[in-house]
Amino acid sequence: MRNRKNIAVKILAVLAFLVFLIINSRSISNPFRTGISGAASLPLKGLNGAMRAVKKIIPFASLREENRLLRERIDLLNRRIEESGTLSAENRRLKDILGFKNAIPFSSIPAEVIGRDPSNWSNSLIINKGSAHGINDNRAVISMKGLVGRTLEVGRTSSKILLITDPNSKAGVIIQRNRQGGILVGRPDGSCKMIYIALDSDVAPGDRVITAGFGSVFPKGILIGEVAAVGKEPGRLYKYAIVRPAQDMTKLEEVLCIR
């Protein structure tokens, strides 16, 4: 009985310590986390590279299986076609990002996504560039399709990006058609919500949402996505809109960090 009481007291002490940790989290976590994620960037890059290699090998393996009944020559040709297809797709993607990098009016640094948030609550990415490559804290990150998020916790060789779909993300935005302003917040389900829209504004599904450029983080006019639904929360004096981001965050492989 006494033993059980002791265990319960210990457990309560641990839980109380954890509550204290969460309350003081910002001051404790940043330098610690940045160091750890910097050290872990090498295995992450390795695993990411291995995964890409596996993705390239899998079609070949299935082709070999499929072509077992075919003549050797056809097998070889098929494999070469497949190989050139993969290479040209990769080439096209890299050319696109290079062309986009040259087309945008901001100076930017291309980076590769090497990791993602381990939890299903937050939405963040780990990229393979850090302060050594010129990345700074609180800078906008974009893709070819639109705004992705902003840099947070920049390490020497890797950085974390808070996606616009993260519940902690907030950005000033406007509707492109009628310049109606609002605040965009992320949601755990991967969409965004634009709040503080005036009740008399005519926001409709399909309207494009762009950055307002109010703060110092996001430059003005970057596409975010389209309005999927509009509604009004009971008891509030403004409307809201559910915004579907133009960029599918689950499929991101390369991003551009604005300097």
């Binding site: 969460i22 295995p43 695993l47 381990p118 689950t250």
Partner: protein, 170 residues
């Protein structure tokens, strides 16, 4: 009486974390990924008891906190509590039944995600999603996916360690 070394558990957790941040997005269905860390905290809680469940959860949470952009300590708290709860439930339900284990994983995954929602609501002040919307859009698919993927993983871990539900493991 079997023993499972701490280092082995920590190694499994570190491996799960690496998979979670890199490879797991390739098996995401409609953007939903299973939660390996919660699943492992539940597994070790079920078979090793409340104390080790809490410890495993705390280590899993610490690893998650290092790579997440959330309040530091939130995963330690949630996963620790989930491991502890799994340990308590492990003494009340049959650990030999795959169906029971699967159900416990689903329930405890839902518990950890719901707890995250409420803690984040307190610290962030406001979240742009109702709990109902969050439950249907995120919690439900994640707990189903995690529960399903736990079936083969639990079988493998039980086989590797030769675990039996009726025995005590330290």
């Amino acid at each position: 009486m079997h023993t499972i070394g701490r280092l082995q558990i920590y190694f499994i957790l570190a491996l799960a974390l690496l998979l979670q941040v890199t490879v797991l997005r390739h098996i995401a269905i409609f953007g939903v990924r299973p939660d390996l860390l919660v699943m492992l905290a539940v597994f070790f809680g079920l078979f090793l008891g409340p104390g080790r469940g809490l410890e495993t959860g705390i280590v899993a949470g610490a690893l998650a906190d290092l790579f997440a952009l959330d309040f530091f300590g939130i995963h330690i708290f949630i996963f620790g509590l989930t491991g502890l709860l799994a340990g308590i439930l492990g003494t009340k339900f049959s650990r030999d039944s795959a169906r029971t284990r699967c159900l416990l994983v689903a329930v405890l995954t839902a518990f950890s995600m719901a707890l995250h929602f409420f803690i984040a609501s307190i610290f962030s002040g406001w979240i742009g999603l109702s709990f109902g919307g969050y439950f249907l859009g995120s919690v439900f698919p994640v707990c189903i996916y995690t529960a399903l993927i736990s079936i083969p993983i639990f079988f493998k871990l039980i086989e590797i360690y030769g675990l039996r539900g009726s025995e005590e493991y330290l």
